[in-house]
């Protein structure tokens, strides 16, 4: 599932470039230019994809690792 989530993120990065609507002036629902409607839908798809990411690809181990630290700042070795 983790791989699927990252594949979805990659897919979103690709389909963000909606060259097929570049010169399309159709108004969706009578008022929303189709290029804007597509990109608004893209934003919703991002929200959904990130929901899947936090659900199935969450780096839970980081929390535990962070909580285990009590070292002073700045020291790198």
């Amino acid at each position: 599932m983790r791989r699927l989530v990252w594949a979805l993120v990659a897919l979103l990065a690709i389909v963000h470039w909606d060259f097929w609507y570049w010169d399309d002036r159709t108004l969706v629902f009578g008022f929303l230019p189709i290029g804007l409607a597509y990109q608004a839908l893209f934003s919703l798809a991002c929200g959904l994809t990130w929901w899947l990411a936090v659900r199935f690809a969450w780096p839970g181990e980081l929390e535990e690792w962070a909580a285990a630290g009590d070292e002073a700042p700045g020291g790198a070795g």
């Binding site: 008022f31 929303l32 919703l44 990130w50 969450w58 980081l62 690792w65 630290g69 070292e71 790198a76």
Partner: protein, 527 residues
Amino acid sequence: MGGAASLTPLYIVAGYLALLLGLGVVTKRLFRGTSSDYFVAGRSIGAFLLLMSVFGTTMTAFALVGSTAKAYDLGIGVYGLMASSSGLVHSLVFFLVGIRLWAIGKRYGYVTQIQYFRARFESDGFGYLLFPILVALVIPYLLIGLLGAGSVVRGVTAGMFPETFPGVLNPETGRTMFAGAVPPWLTGLVVSGVVLFYIFGGGVRGAAWANAAQTIVFMITGVIAFVLIARELGGLDAASAKVLESSPQHLAREGQIGHLQFLTYGLVPLSVGMFPHLFQHWLTARSAKTFRLTIVCHPIFIMIVWVPCVLIGVWAVGQGIVAPGGNSNAVLGKVVADVLVDPALSGILTAGILAAIMSSLDSQFVCLGTMFTHDVVLQAFGEGRFSDRQKVLMGRAFIVAVVAVTYLFTFFPPPHIFDLAVWCFSGFASLFPLVFASLYWRRATKAGAIASTLVMAATWTVLFYQGMLAGGDPDSDFLVGGMMPVTIIFAASAATLVAVSLMTEPPSPEAVDRYFPTRSDPRRLPA
């Protein structure tokens, strides 16, 4: 504007600022007096507050005023160019960089980015190189906020005080402009004073609370303004139909935005990975899980704010509204003045715009003080030399100094302030390879980091000079071979980091292991 001299909008704005002062008093009572509470809110901020503060910080005057202006100039393509790409990239950066930096910050007690970079690359000197670059990139960002606030209030208060503020003479036309309007220098003073009051009281916690409140205000006022403007224009369909009749190119992208420009603009949102003020907000999170709501909701919140603003911008074109003085940044104010004749509505929307501006200024103010205290003073004189109270006072003194310098710059405003924002974001975005490599590439070295930062600064300076100072076309984005300049700066910075790192001795495994806690080295995970 009917009732142009009515003081109602000013009363509403003043009432809003008074509420913020009240919030400052409340957060001051909650302030625990420790530097940890002042600088990172005791790492106790919950999911909702983190979402609102991160979103409010990320959305500046650019989001409301600039988005409308750009849509007025370029059409609806602005949304894909700046907003939807940010929805994908910002959350990606929060996920891949933000959570990891939060974990490292919590584990090792870091408060600033520079503390992390100094430790990761085992170099105090690198911190002294990075500090002035980050501060220099934040100052234009502050300038945008103060100029934006001054411009909005001046537009709304025109005619209110003809005797006190007679206006300024335009030498070209011989006519008096902005007669009776509150001048930007006064707005800048008041806005800075209010923000300083509530952040001095509560530090980053005060900023987070104020951000949350202001984010709610500007989102709600934005939606209300959109609904009312649509109604006054005869409905959604009628407003868009007029654009289709008079300026159909604004409803598409052909001829307005180039394909390479669109693609390369996607690098600009990477700037959130290096914003020092956002880094500080990440560190305030109570836990890694706190980030979840921010990651999921951020793209949707961007949509809620940007879609109405973009539509208002293109509708203004359809209505034949002319940008005052040819300045498209004044279009939102002009639409409000021409379409919404009710002074109360005008006041509410002005308060909403100021909310968006101040919700960024506060975080930037706090982070500047934090960086100066931790990355310069404590670094030079030692952690134990000063009491908590002294640390907080030093942070405040530096903030006042930077705000004073920025305030002086407002008397010499650049003609296209939002283009300045894109340059500022481009600088931060081009430092993204540095933070990403530091977290995911063990082979990244101190020399690579230093060389990359210097190359970024040099490339940015050359292109900025060509694009902004040496007579670039002020009415369109400065492009290099059809691409945004960030492409060149980013590529130069990334290539230098990789090349110099590979040519220099790798860092010791002991030093690097501290920052690679997860799957790359599972043995380092706790049992």
